[in-house]
Symmetry: C2
Subunit: 434 residues, 2 copies
Amino acid sequence: MKAYDLILKKRQGLALNKEEIEFLIEGYTKDEIPDYQMSAWAMAVFFQGMTPEETAYLTTAMVNSGETLAWNEIAGKVVDKHSTGGVGDKTSIVLAPLMAAAGIPFAKMSGRGLGHTGGTLDKLESFQGFRIDLSREEISKNVNEIGVVLSGQTADLVPADGKLYALRDVTATVESIPLIASSIMSKKIASGADAIVLDVKVGKGAFMKSLDDAVKLSEAMVDIGKRLDRSMTAVLSQMEEPLGNMVGNALEIKEAIDTLAGKGPEDLRELVLVIGSYLMVLGEYRDNREAAYEELALLLDNGKALEKFKEMVKAQGGDIAEVDNPELLPKAKDVIPFTASRAGYVAELDALAVGRAAMSLGAGRQKKGDPIDLGVGIEVVRKTGDMVAEGDVLAYIHSNDEKKTIEAMKELDLAYVLSEKEQEKLPLVYRIIQ
Amino acid sequence: MKAYDLILKKRQGLALNKEEIEFLIEGYTKDEIPDYQMSAWAMAVFFQGMTPEETAYLTTAMVNSGETLAWNEIAGKVVDKHSTGGVGDKTSIVLAPLMAAAGIPFAKMSGRGLGHTGGTLDKLESFQGFRIDLSREEISKNVNEIGVVLSGQTADLVPADGKLYALRDVTATVESIPLIASSIMSKKIASGADAIVLDVKVGKGAFMKSLDDAVKLSEAMVDIGKRLDRSMTAVLSQMEEPLGNMVGNALEIKEAIDTLAGKGPEDLRELVLVIGSYLMVLGEYRDNREAAYEELALLLDNGKALEKFKEMVKAQGGDIAEVDNPELLPKAKDVIPFTASRAGYVAELDALAVGRAAMSLGAGRQKKGDPIDLGVGIEVVRKTGDMVAEGDVLAYIHSNDEKKTIEAMKELDLAYVLSEKEQEKLPLVYRIIQ
């Protein structure tokens, strides 16, 4: 078998078979197939697509390129959740302890990630002493004892994906539905998940800008999972404006704590309950989704979820005094109001521009290893559909640097569009794909 | 400027501007842009094409990547001819001395090439002592004194093309009209040609299998040349069956000598006269193409062209006794007839299969540096449209090895299709594009 022939076959619009896909991925992982052939193949995939079978073969081949996790400490199905990424997305931080509070073990491997704010792990490091580099033994112990852990990777999962993604990133071949779908799914499957809820974000602040594209990606991922005997649900959720009100690391932790205490913004609470209830049914821990939803809502309202969160923070070395009193978390020197220049309705609140504002304050990193300022960020006060008077506060800028404040201000100017016309609030969930 | 953005732009179907193309080609030539980005770009070009402007920018950028030749010893326009390659194509070997006999200086840089037989230079090395590695000074001297030279490259022409072609060759991105057109044209332009006749072969034995594709390639090349102020003509000629009767190195030299002596096969003579007469008019050495055609025909018939050929062979160190008596040229041990298994008409004579037969005898090389057997090859006796009786000789196999003879026999079996139905002879020239 020769890589050349497989590139040609794909270029001609034909589907590669299982052996051919394995040959490509194995060869690439072992450096036997050079980058220049893989990038040509990826570009051919961009134009010709992949069949569902082919995409599943690719996913399996990538899973087989490295280690996989097994969760012997979990008796039932291993549930997991993945978000395609958005601005202000702290869903996992609320969801993990909430699931554990419902008696469903939840061990999620997360990353630091690049972007407008840090990843889930960065946010959790807002707690003094919080450890995200747990050993496999510690993870196992925490799952057994408290039922929840949020940690970094312990194993070399899906090295083929790491290598291929880095190549796609510099050859303009990222934006291919089958390549994105297999990249995401290979990591979930290597992590040992049996039941997976995908939170596919749609809108200005998301990778998928249109509902059409998000549906295609969701269908591709659900299809891969089903072909590989996983239980799958995709929740297509709105990311035109930020999720919740807080965008920034410690700010998002505060909002997660609020939500775990039965308060917090309505959209975040709702998304957590929707995803959580689908996970419970998908993992065969409950029969009825509506009932599961109500059960989870109660666990937020009666303090059980927050209690579980404190157990998790404590078990991972964090300071639970900061959970009880979030004012102790890192915070910015200055909190500057950003006000409405005229009266009207918020016609648009561009999540991406809010993300850039947070980024310009230092909340995120542009490249691996960059430092993050945990205290800074944007606190959104008014969202799409809200009526405002001239001079009303639209958002607060939490900043440690005046120059950066000005940058953030400029981005917020772009983010908010006011209109005289009344404007409806945005929906949260567009569609469920199973 | 970033290579990533240029790949993305092309992927999106947009045209790159002059500076962007220059950035890509300069960067690639200097190893600043890696292979994996160039191959992704090439695959995007395969799918999205290039505008005529873009293709001309690419050609110029490639020309500028290395040295260029100037022909100060030639007072008028420098004429050149390029064939896209076929089986039995010895046109240049006849054309070069013929042009010189008409008083038009003709200095052609050729290559050894891979394929079913050697390239023009390999064929010429059938003459004992013939030197193809002339210095720039020797070339200049020969052009001044006898008006003709057929030599290898003296300069590092178009290194970008060499590098890019090698990459395309292993990434399934060769078959792109703008990339093929710019590759060919960059070499012609760097060689210093002012007036160029392109012999674009069409059919089973050619790179372009269909007339449609050949027209597209011809138009692209003629367009590039005109944009860069060259006088251009493309002759689209038939390559379903071999050109002339001889396929093999010394065999083709013999046929070239025959043709230079006013004999030789009709199709080869005709193609030489067509290309030559267009070159004379294109180079502004004559006004009237029909008259030029007659003039050249006379030079073949009156021995002047052959005389010029002998001057060239002598000037390049060859033995002219071998011109006078081609039986002295390298020849194979055995000459085995390949006969018709039944009576009928030759419905098809597949040039590619004849090429493979010659290759299997050792007439060509599979990779650079492979040795070539100059004496072996196929002598075609019957061509498409000819009537044959059972047992008639269709072709002779000139072989030095019995095993290889059997291989060649198998290929000839595939090459010849006999039919009971009468069959017309194939046309030679399909179309002229200017």
